[in-house]
């Protein structure tokens, strides 16, 4: 037998998806910026390609990262992805070796059993049949988990699972039908011919014992083919588009392409790579503390894909970055959210099915209307010359205990510094950036840059992680930017300041913008270890919580904000520390309002422990320490 009409749905689907993916990748490549095109070309003939193959195997097939965070969920993803891959891989080889000729059309491998019902009775053939059955059993076990997860998400260790749209549901149903229908089709065929291995063979023999197997098999082959065909055709407009897209994502990432601050191919590829696994939902404090369950990154990705209005979703986010850290696909979720914030009101296209397949691309995000704000009233700055600038930031001015502590530490260290915003400075620009107003932010950045440049300093110390992040990332400065925890660590290492050991139990809360946002994890804990008894918490480093005070969320109610703060503070103070330490004025203020435990910035604890030494004039060691700082 060479051909049977039931293969037609499968063939249509398969060739459709191949052509579609090729067309889509051509468009994506075309939309890349020139440097990114070059990166991709270079990557193709270099190490990135090899790295990508490895990563595709580890992440897209094995799902290593999901396995690490959640074994059962990982197994579910792995059995479906890796199992299906093995089935195709070994199926193709099977058709190649045992079929009538080599290099068969794909359907020959997929429907091998139909065309070779007598196959697999003895020897190597039987062993191979056993392998194929084993793979099918592997997939079916994962499928069973997937079905259970859809109805009882807690079974796979997830509190929430994503809600689906209609095309997702149809695609999901056809996906679910693929493997059971294959099992039944193969089993009936095997039952009729007395072939098949442990799964299809025994099930087939049992079914054939009371059913007309040969007649029943045929409709199931049709069903198998139709489910495959439907799945392929719906793939581009369902979340399963992540299967082909993730391969592009991995390769692009390995080639060194970054999200940047404008929509483009890479952000779109990432959006399509989201499988809606829902891990970001469980990680989100808006979900588990505030009960807001419709704004998480998985939903944002879905809304962007569907051209839905995202304005309600994008602004209701603390931008704490917990989901970025947890995303098993490695999608840069926060940068994509920022791109959406920069855009104005999203246009709601009249959607049709064509639009779903080739949606109007993210490049079309309309620019926000330029506001009329202007900062011409700012007077030109004339700062004093100094080696080190201290920029407290507006939040630090609102928490003067931190400011006073830093002055005490700076004075004790003997460095030559200038407190540039002592009389009130200009905002670092980040609140505007978080609101998507980049142009306005740029004006403030230029103003501050000039002031810093005029001062001739080589180091800029700030007390606020919000300022720190923006000084690091969005200013083009040739000074070293340090958060005050890093600066204090340096002073301690140099011996410029001496401290007593405080007999106090301290737990550290890592602020979002300092930790996950800027990767500063070690210095704060090292400083705390130096002066106090630092205790472990359940939420360290990348897994730290958001205090809830984030500037980035403009939608959340104050009650919900307070609930987030309260839950986080309760978790952190579980073991009754003497001090809840943090390194951000905003975290401090937020926590102080909800806990009885003393909340203090690291600088306050250091200032408390400080041994104030008499000020030495013209001391040699003093000059050295300035020089050393100059060479930081």
């Amino acid at each position: 037998m060479k051909f049977d009409p039931f293969i037609i749905p499968f063939n249509i689907g398969l060739y459709f998806i191949i052509i579609y993916v090729v067309a889509r990748s051509v468009i994506w490549f075309h939309d890349l910026s020139r440097p990114d095109k070059l990166r991709l070309q270079r990557g193709f003939f270099g190490i990135p390609f090899a790295l990508s193959l490895k990563e595709i195997f580890m992440e897209s097939l094995i799902h290593r990262k999901i396995l690490k965070t959640n074994l059962r969920l990982g197994y579910m993803h792995m059995s479906l992805a890796f199992g299906w891959f093995l089935l195709i891989f070994f199926g193709t080889i099977e058709a190649d070796i045992f079929g009538t000729k080599h290099l068969n059309a794909p359907y020959k491998a997929i429907f091998f059993r139909f065309f070779n019902p007598e196959h697999g009775r003895i020897g190597f053939e039987a062993t191979y049949g056993f392998l194929m059955d084993l793979i099918l059993a592997f997939i079916l076990s994962g499928l069973l988990l997937a079905v259970i997860k859809r109805f009882y998400s807690r079974v796979v260790g997830m509190k929430k699972t994503t809600r689906l749209k209609i095309t997702d549901r149809i695609a999901l149903t056809s996906l679910w039908l693929i493997f059971p229908s294959r099992l039944l089709a193969e089993s009936f065929t095997c039952g009729a011919h007395g072939t098949g291995s442990f799964l299809t063979g025994s099930l087939g023999a049992w079914l054939a014992s009371f059913l007309p197997a040969q007649q029943i098999a045929y409709p199931f082959w049709w069903l198998y083919s139709i489910s495959l065909g439907t799945f392929f055709i719906l793939l581009p407009i369902s979340r399963y588009m992540h299967i082909p897209t993730e391969l592009f994502l991995i390769f692009m990432r390995n080639s060194g392409i970054k999200t940047g601050d404008k929509a483009g191919t890479y952000s779109e590829v990432q959006t399509y790579s989201c499988s809606s696994c829902g891990i970001c939902i469980d990680a989100c404090q808006l979900n588990f503390s505030a009960g807001i369950t419709n704004i998480q990154s998985a939903y944002l990705m879905k809304a962007i894909r569907n051209n839905d209005d995202v304005s309600e979703i994008v602004d209701n986010c603390l931008m704490c970055g917990r989901c970025d850290q947890k995303c098993p696909v490695g999608i840069e979720l926060s940068p994509i959210r920022m791109i959406q914030r920069r855009g104005g009101e999203a246009e709601n296209d009249i959607r049709n099915i064509y639009n779903g397949y080739f949606r109007s691309r993210q490049i079309n995000i309309p620019e926000k209307v330029i506001s009329s704000s202007n900062y011409s009233f700012l007077q030109e700055s004339d700062p004093q010359k100094a080696d080190i600038l201290y920029f407290a930031g507006c939040m630090t001015h609102l928490t003067p205990a931190i400011k006073n502590s830093m002055i005490k530490i700076l004075e004790a260290s003997g460095v030559k510094y200038n407190f540039i915003d002592e009389q009130g400075g200009v905002c670092c620009g980040r609140p505007l950036m978080l609101a998507g107003q980049d142009k306005e932010a740029r004006e403030l950045i230029n103003y501050n840059s000039q002031m810093i440049w005029k001062s001739g300093a080589h180091t800029l110390v700030t007390s606020c992680p919000i300022c720190y992040k923006v000084f690091k990332e969005s200013y083009y400065l040739d000074v070293e930017v340090l958060h005050h925890t890093q600066f204090i660590k340096k002073l301690i290492d140099e011996g410029s300041v001496k401290m007593n050991f405080l007999r106090k139990k301290v737990v550290y809360h890592s602020p979002c913008d300092l930790g996950r946002g800027s990767g500063v994890y070690d210095e704060p804990t090292e400083v705390l270890n130096h002066v106090s008894r630092l205790e472990k918490s359940d939420f360290e480093d990348e897994n730290s919580l958001c205090c809830g005070g984030s500037l980035a969320n403009m939608k959340i109610s104050s009650q919900k904000r307070k609930k987030i703060a309260l839950d986080a503070a309760t978790e952190l103070t579980k073991n009754n520390p003497d001090i809840l330490a943090t390194a951000c004025p905003l975290c401090k203020k937020t926590f102080a309002a909800v806990t009885e435990t003393r909340v203090a910035d690291i600088s306050e604890i250091v200032a408390e422990a400080l041994i104030e030494k008499p000020i030495k004039i013209n001391s040699g060691s003093h000059a050295n320490s300035i020089k050393e700082l100059a060479n930081i």
Partner: protein, 342 residues
């Protein structure tokens, strides 16, 4: 057999309720966590609007309690609260058991903890004080800075912890405005050479004779009222306080050096009140104060039959309002005890 009512809280509302109930022949016990009764009244110097000494009100309340044989349990808190079909059982921290036919909650308010508005520097800078601290200075008869010199310029910040989304209090505490006016006048009386500046969002002079007092402060005492919320305070080298504020009438930002800053702390649901809400199972509102079942005609009624509210545990109130509210509670309780309806 005579009925027994337990009043929780021995401040203005609690004592008034207790006195009036006793007069009506009902046996009353008052549970007060502090050693002395009187609550916040003990902190005040003179009371607006006619600036009588607070001790006069205290004397009246003490007279009520002493003359009518009320069972006063000071230094006492509630540990266990149970309800039977017809009465309530209360166990105190001392292990004493009380049986009551009705309960009156008169737990009052707490003053907003001004250190929560760290930007004003309470507890961090010298010479940033609260309205209560100032009242205490008045009582001592001396207004002085920490270095014992006399302040020349004094700023008063209204709405500290009230109408402030950042601290989660949307409501108006209602009597800080008039307190500020009263204190501004008193400062000027004590220190005739001083200058006083009040920074307000709105002047809410809704009570009887408040507006008159406000006018007097401006015309007779030359107090300056500047509409604008102070954003932050900092300390200068010469130990003065530098505040930043926007004068919203003039439409310009303003910086001002002051010797002393007085924070008009708002009113919040008392912490012990919140505990009692938990123990008894009483509902609280979005403002965290006890929620009455009817804001128009039943502001003394709670969600539990036989438990009633009196005074500022339900909302910010001044003393005349508290007294009225307490007397209203007495009527509700007597109705309940007679007819079993609330």
């Amino acid at each position: 057999m005579s009925k027994h009512v337990v009043v929780i809280g021995g401040g203005v509302a609690g004592l008034e309720v207790a006195g009036q109930l006793s007069k009506a022949g009902i046996e009353v016990s008052v549970i007060e966590k502090e050693i002395n009764t009187g609550g916040h009244l003990n902190n005040w110097y003179r009371l607006f609007p006619d600036r009588r000494d607070s001790s006069e009100v205290k004397e009246y309340l003490d007279g009520m309690t002493h003359n009518h044989g009320i069972n006063l349990l000071t230094n006492t808190t509630i540990e266990v609260f149970k309800r039977n079909t017809s009465h309530f059982l209360i166990t105190t921290n001392g292990g004493k058991e009380l049986t009551a036919d009705a309960i009156i909650i008169a737990t009052g308010f707490d003053l907003f903890k001004s250190s929560r508005k760290e930007e004003y520097g309470y507890g961090i800078y010298d010479n940033v004080i609260t309205s209560v601290d100032l009242e205490k200075m008045f009582r001592k008869g001396k207004i002085a800075l920490t270095n014992q010199t006399v302040p020349e310029t004094i700023g008063i910040i209204h709405c500290v912890g009230s109408r402030d989304e950042k601290v989660g209090n949307f409501y108006c505490s209602k009597l800080c405005c008039v307190t500020a006016v009263k204190q501004a006048i008193e400062i000027r009386e004590f220190l005739p050479d001083s200058k006083v500046f009040c920074f307000y969002m709105d002047m809410r002079m809704g009570g009887a004779f408040y507006e008159e007092l406000y006018r007097e402060a401006q015309e007779k005492w030359g107090v300056n009222f500047i509409r604008g919320k102070v954003s932050e305070a900092s300390e200068t080298i010469e130990n003065k306080l530098l505040i930043k504020v926007e004068d919203t009438l003039a439409g310009r930002p303003l910086k001002m050096k002051l010797d002393m800053l007085v924070l008009m702390a708002g009113m919040e649901m008392s912490e012990d009140g919140e505990k009692i809400a938990g123990i008894v199972g009483l509902k609280t509102g979005e403002n965290r104060f006890f929620a009455a079942t009817d804001n128009l005609i039943g502001s003394n009624r709670s969600n539990i039959d036989g438990v009633f509210y009196a005074g500022s545990c339900t909302a910010p109130m001044n003393i005349p309002e508290t007294i009225s509210h307490a007397r209203a509670a007495v009527v509700e309780v007597i109705d309940y005890l007679n007819d079993g309806i609330r």
